[in-house]
Assembly symmetry: C2
Homo-oligomer: 326 residues x 2
């Protein structure tokens, strides 16, 4: 009921009377009062005025199951929230939920991670209470070879959410890093479980540096946060809901033909590597090329110096800008 | 220490003195006596004679961590045993162990399963205390597209183990069912977890009907057990160890070039579909063909009635004998 009362207070333009809440949820005044007290304890600023009722005057950056749920307005993406004050990694939690049969769209989110995962077995720097760590569980009826494209669907969704929420000039470094001012603000890690040749579930983890104030020296040149770039703090739960909303829409476009055909124009519009020189780190031999954009499979099309065109697959190679990270 | 004492008793031709055991493991006579009492409680028949020592006279079909471990003589396959009196499914256990970082070759085995898994989402009939339910965790450095071949490596290993142990005329129904007298005695289910395009781990589950006395009517025509076929009971732990031994050898042959090239001759020698007519249940259209045997990718080569040859991939189609199950 906490989620519902929070949504009601947030939706109201001004005061909501205790009686209105009681009538809506068929609970006693005491029950309402208890929930209001809990919300205050979590950090919400709520004015209580006799004969007028309750007024939500301030919503600091609280992360909780109720806070996230009260902001999510999708059909399925993030409708079922598991929230952890601290956990090993939200990808690990979402995989465990997948094993237990949790539904498509289940979201695992945490305030802190003790064993955050980055790509290629690297770790992911976690600052408790500052950033977004979340993983969505999906049960798509697609072939395993199509699944890596979901990573790009999420990259597009996350960058669209960040831009809409903050107005910051964020873009994508192929295939799935989010970048502002040539520094990384978000990483995405996709994991998948197969039974024979069929997908049991896919987990897409998203880490966004939101209110991170500083980074260790070795990362400072390559990583940044929304706060560092904008000079202000952001409400994480709002951004989580925004990412879920964008993802749900983009995922449904992807599912129509199981390709990025319907998304690649928007993706390429946000792709920072596009029309730039890149160094292709192909294990068979590195080379410099001119990046043209992704195709409908999510491969990066590049033109080599001798004019040959190649479609670069993220499973085999990575790309690096000629001058720095992008 | 239970495992080691059990191995020592089994290896001895006759009596082992309490003193010998004490000296070997640097423990007291009381400690040895306690272990012997535990073993008797588990069902082992052990004679204790003053001045001569202990003699293992009978080893009924006990399944336990110590029993399995005392029989396994491999380098890595099944060296790390997790045993459950009852669990949901050993594949689910092995996947959980994989998530927790258990080593390559870890074996999850159970006396009973409450949620046994068959292929394509079907269940697996479990008779407590009668059959083998086991799953091995693997961390192969191969591409995900090669992983389905591991199912065939296990099918070959399991059939070789059953034949060696029981002398029964077992064979393979492509790709991975074990069959005696046209009835199924063993099923194999492979699951896999990927991080981006890399394998995190593979789990291969093996269910063998060992001492099963009867099957429900709807299965009786299609399923059998080693006991029903031979008229005698078999020691499950011995068979588990035998499967692990065969699998370790065959897996290492597979890893040499990541294909079934080095195994396909033996596999085809045990393939019951070979040189028989089969019905290929291709979703694009069923057809009848003559099965020739597998290729090095594990695909079934068939010759159609018009002479065209096809390589049939188990992810897409299944095959059925023209006259019955095989």
């Amino acid at each position: 009921m906490k989620t519902e009362i929070l949504s009601m207070l947030r939706a109201a333009d001004g005061y909501v009377s205790g009686q209105q809440i009681c009538d809506r949820f068929h609970v006693s005044r005491t029950a309402v009062w208890k929930v209001i007290e809990q919300l205050k304890e979590e950090g919400y600023e709520i004015e209580a005025v006799r004969r007028r009722g309750y007024h939500l005057t301030g919503s600091p950056d609280v992360m909780s199951k109720a806070e996230i749920e009260s902001r999510i307005e999708t059909k399925w993406a993030g409708r079922n929230v598991f929230y952890y004050e601290e956990t090993d990694s939200t990808n690990t939690r979402a995989k465990a939920l997948g094993e237990e049969g949790a539904p498509h769209g289940t979201l695992a989110a945490a305030d802190a991670q003790s064993a955050g995962k980055g790509r290629r077995g690297r770790g992911w720097e976690s600052a408790p209470g500052k950033d977004i760590y979340m993983s969505i569980l999906l049960k798509p009826q697609i072939s395993p070879v199509q699944a890596p494209m979901l990573t790009l669907v999420m990259a597009l969704s996350a960058v669209e959410a960040v831009k809409e929420e903050t107005g910051l000039d964020a873009g994508i470094k192929w295939p799935n890093d989010l970048v502002i001012n040539k520094k990384k603000i978000c990483g995405i890690l996709t994991e998948m479980s197969l039974e024979e040749e069929q997908i049991s579930y896919v987990v897409i983890g998203v880490g966004i540096n939101v209110n991170h104030d500083e980074f260790p020296e070795e990362l400072a040149g390559r990583a940044t946060s929304l706060k560092l770039e904008s000079g202000k703090e952001w409400t994480r739960a709002k951004l989580v809901a925004q990412v879920m909303e964008k993802f749900e829409k983009n995922y449904e476009i992807f599912l129509k033909d199981g390709s990025l055909a319907g998304l690649k124009e928007r993706y390429n519009g946000l792709l920072l590597n596009k029309e730039r020189e890149v160094r292709v780190l192909d294990p068979k031999g590195e080379y410099t090329a001119f990046a043209l954009g992704i195709n409908e499979k999510g491969e990066l099309l590049v033109e080599r110096e001798d004019g040959r065109r190649e479609a670069v697959f993220s499973g085999e190679v990575s790309v690096r800008g000629i001058y720095g990270y992008v």
